[in-house]
């Protein structure tokens, strides 16, 4: 059978999967199917340099490794169904594609608020086209911007908007602090102060109930009764996994695609999941399956899963220990960077400043049962370098379940 490995989703994770399949020795055909019309491109600059006008849209494209020159690209095409028993996927142009191996790399889309009110004037930031539209809206003189959601994308967009000269930027979130989920209170408090010093306003501990305006947004109504005037609204309230096409196969799709410790799906050795959409156990920590929406994850998952799939298809043994990546994450906001290594969210009950102080460059350690499980730096280059020095120590720590 000369059926290809089909990769559903042709963004970062899909590209890395194709490259890593070649690196693992798969010489057979590979077909990548992707909804977006663009070749795979880098998303982090969309809320930073691209939105700020410091990087061109063209500079975002990934440079594929030379050994994937022969893969088939089906861009602007969506996978609408998968039948894992028959080993076929169906495309929106009516074609049925048999596969020998299937890679799930369909990622996430932004969640939208279910509140009543007009839609024009409301933006999300996930794709190149989203960023283009938002940049145009933010560069109109005197705009008042409301960012809903104080997660990392919301904080980045707020910082970029104020730098672009927006008249007002307000961030709304039901939580009491920005990025409190991943960072914990100590560092989230420091982050709040830095944003406020640079002119960002916050409406915290309250949610959005409605959008005001007739044919476009003019204001945002909050649960505490206030109404914030707004010309531009950015919804950055989390994301939902693109798994509808994968339904009907009796799998757990409650939050992304559940995998085993080798990123295999539904007990089928010919189906793997990679990137943001994969919910995998991390043997480095507690073995609980989680999705990880960090830039490093498409590459890490692709590397492991491609070896596993290639070994299966070629009848060899991958001989790999369970997947155990060290999560790493960064975020650029104003003139500072957050740099994280490990899993700070697992050590938020025991947080200590390891270096520096909360008003300047600071390095914070997160512990679980007296063991260091994560570090986050906030500040300039020196802080990020200090965090990097702890990386080796985090890599040496034994598993929490060992």
């Amino acid at each position: 059978m000369n059926a290809p490995i089909v990769v559903a989703g042709a963004a970062m994770a899909g590209l890395r999967a194709a490259e890593q399949l070649r690196a693992a020795g798969w010489t057979g055909p590979i077909t990548l199917v992707g909804s977006e019309p663009h070749m795979p491109y880098n998303r982090p600059p969309l809320s930073k340099e691209v939105l700020a006008g410091k990087a061109s849209f063209d500079s975002l494209a990934f440079r594929p490794r030379p050994d994937v020159h022969d893969v088939r690209w089906r861009l602007g095409t969506t996978v609408v169904r998968a039948d894992l028993d028959r080993q076929v996927v169906e495309l929106d142009d009516g074609e049925t594609l048999p596969y020998r191996g299937l890679v799930v790399a369909t990622g996430m889309r932004p969640r939208r608020l279910p509140c009543p009110g007009p839609v024009p004037g409301r933006h999300t930031v996930r794709t190149l086209d989203d960023a283009r539209g938002l940049r145009e809206a933010l560069t109109r003189p005197g705009v008042r911007v409301v960012v809903v959601g104080a997660g990392f994308i919301g904080c980045e967009v707020a910082a970029t908007a104020i730098a672009l000269g927006a008249a007002e930027v307000t961030v709304v979130d039901p939580m009491p602090l920005p990025m409190a989920g991943p960072l914990g209170e100590l560092l989230a408090g420091a982050l709040l102060g830095r944003h406020e010093q640079r002119g960002i306003r916050f409406a915290l501990g309250t949610g959005v109930t409605a959008f005001h305006g007739d044919d476009r947004v003019t204001g945002v109504a909050l649960a505490d009764g206030r109404v914030l005037a707004a010309d531009v609204v950015v919804e950055s309230v989390g994301s939902a996994a693109n798994t509808e096409w994968f339904e009907g196969n009796g799998l757990d799709l409650s939050d992304g695609v559940l995998t085993d410790e080798h990123l295999r799906v539904g007990g089928r050795p010919e189906v793997i999941a990679v990137g943001d959409v994969a919910r995998f156990p991390n043997a480095r920590y507690d073995g609980v399956p989680r999705r990880v929406e960090h830039w490093s994850i498409p590459t890490d998952t692709a590397k492991h899963a491609a070896k596993v799939l290639t070994a299966h298809l070629t009848g060899t043994d991958a001989g790999l220990a369970p997947f155990a990546p060290l999560p790493t994450f960064w975020s650029d906001q104003h003139d500072f960077r957050l740099q994280s290594f490990g899993a700070p969210a697992l050590g938020k009950d025991d947080v200590r400043v390891l270096d520096g102080d909360l008003d300047g460059d600071v390095l914070v350690g997160y512990h679980h049962a007296d063991r260091l499980v994560g570090v986050v730096a906030l500040g300039g280059r020196a802080a990020a370098a200090a965090a990097a020095r702890y990386r080796a120590e985090l890599l040496k720590q034994p598993s929490l379940i060992a």
């Binding site: 280059r381 020196a382 370098a385």
Partner: protein, 62 residues
């Protein structure tokens, strides 16, 4: 194998230093330094370094 780094793009993430410590390092002033023509045996390491650069600033030329 020639390794080219676009220093206008580099933002000191250091991911290349973790991926390929034999080829990339930070010098005493904290600036990225690299071996321009590393041994062919280091190719896999350098490819990984290019993959993990968030700015896509590393290029391999044969």
């Amino acid at each position: 194998m020639q390794v080219v780094v676009d220093m206008n793009k580099c933002q000191d993430h250091g991911q290349c230093v973790f991926a390929a410590p034999d080829v990339f390092r930070f010098d005493d002033e904290g600036r990225l330094a690299h071996v321009a023509a590393p041994d062919e045996s280091l190719r896999a390491e350098v490819e990984e370094a290019a993959d993990v650069c968030p700015l896509q600033a590393i290029r391999i030329e044969d």
